[in-house]
Subunit: 158 residues, 2 copies
């Protein structure tokens, strides 16, 4: 029982599996490139967004990242412990404001060239058009995920 599958035959029929595979592969490429900076691409993403956003609430940041809020809560925890992220005052007591610390700003600055290197490598692999399509892909798939639900009243059926 040999797996004799060539590249052209290795494409799964499942779009989800294909996309997840691509995601794992590209994550490895970026993490690899970012390795000297000590950041994972997921962490770099959070810090870079925070860098642009300034002081924001956890929920707001989660929306920016199109990431589940509770996921971000945990991702932030590590970044706070590393000293990259610190609390920020917020007008609304319900909100927890966060922002980049000086250390965090330095970390982003240090990592950025490595990130750019990965970006360029990807552009070589996929071409400018392929890169452009990736953005469209995410948007197309997010378009109706969880917003297309009907008939979910809060009144229990019993």
């Amino acid at each position: 029982m040999k797996e004799d599958r060539r590249a052209s035959d290795r494409a799964s029929v499942c779009s989800c599996v294909n996309l997840r595979r691509a995601s794992r592969a590209i994550t490895r490429i970026y993490d690899d490139a970012l390795q000297p900076s000590g950041l994972k691409v997921t962490q770099y993403s959070v810090l870079a967004n925070l860098s642009r956003a300034g002081a924001v609430s956890v929920s707001a940041l989660a929306r920016m990242l199109t990431l589940d809020r509770t996921t971000l809560v945990r991702n932030l925890k590590a970044l706070e412990q590393a000293g990259f992220v610190e609390g920020a005052p917020s007008p609304d007591p319900r909100e927890r404001g966060v922002s980049l610390s000086e250390t965090g700003r330095a970390a982003v600055a240090k990592a950025q060239p490595y990130w750019l290197q990965a970006q360029q490598l990807i552009e070589e692999k996929l071409g400018a058009e392929g890169v452009r399509q990736l953005g469209a892909l995410a948007i197309a798939l997010e378009g109706s995920a969880g917003d297309d639900e009907a008939g979910d009243e809060p009144g229990e059926t019993g």
Copy 2:
């Protein structure tokens, strides 16, 4: 500097972030569709491959799935506890053979129509061409992940 991001502006500049976002989104779509079957798309993927492969070693299955072996070890654990996967004899004592149980076969059969539903939904969203490109994408990105080393360090010499 106002942030007034609409859908078309919501595309990240980072290919990795875009792809990961797309991956999360499509995973949600498939998991959602598969929900009545009680399987996650990741689990369905393992079981479906096992269904085609028959009895295989953990490492061989991991290669089929382009998945880290140790990740698969843990994913299999849940499937074994659920009774979907069982041990299979192997000629080589080092290998641990696994195969679908009857229950597992039934689970795949039950889930398949839901999976197909998701497949079709995606094809509607992305078009046949878009779907085709996803397979190519994974392969393009896996192509040189970890087998191509470039000594092109950006600065950081001190």
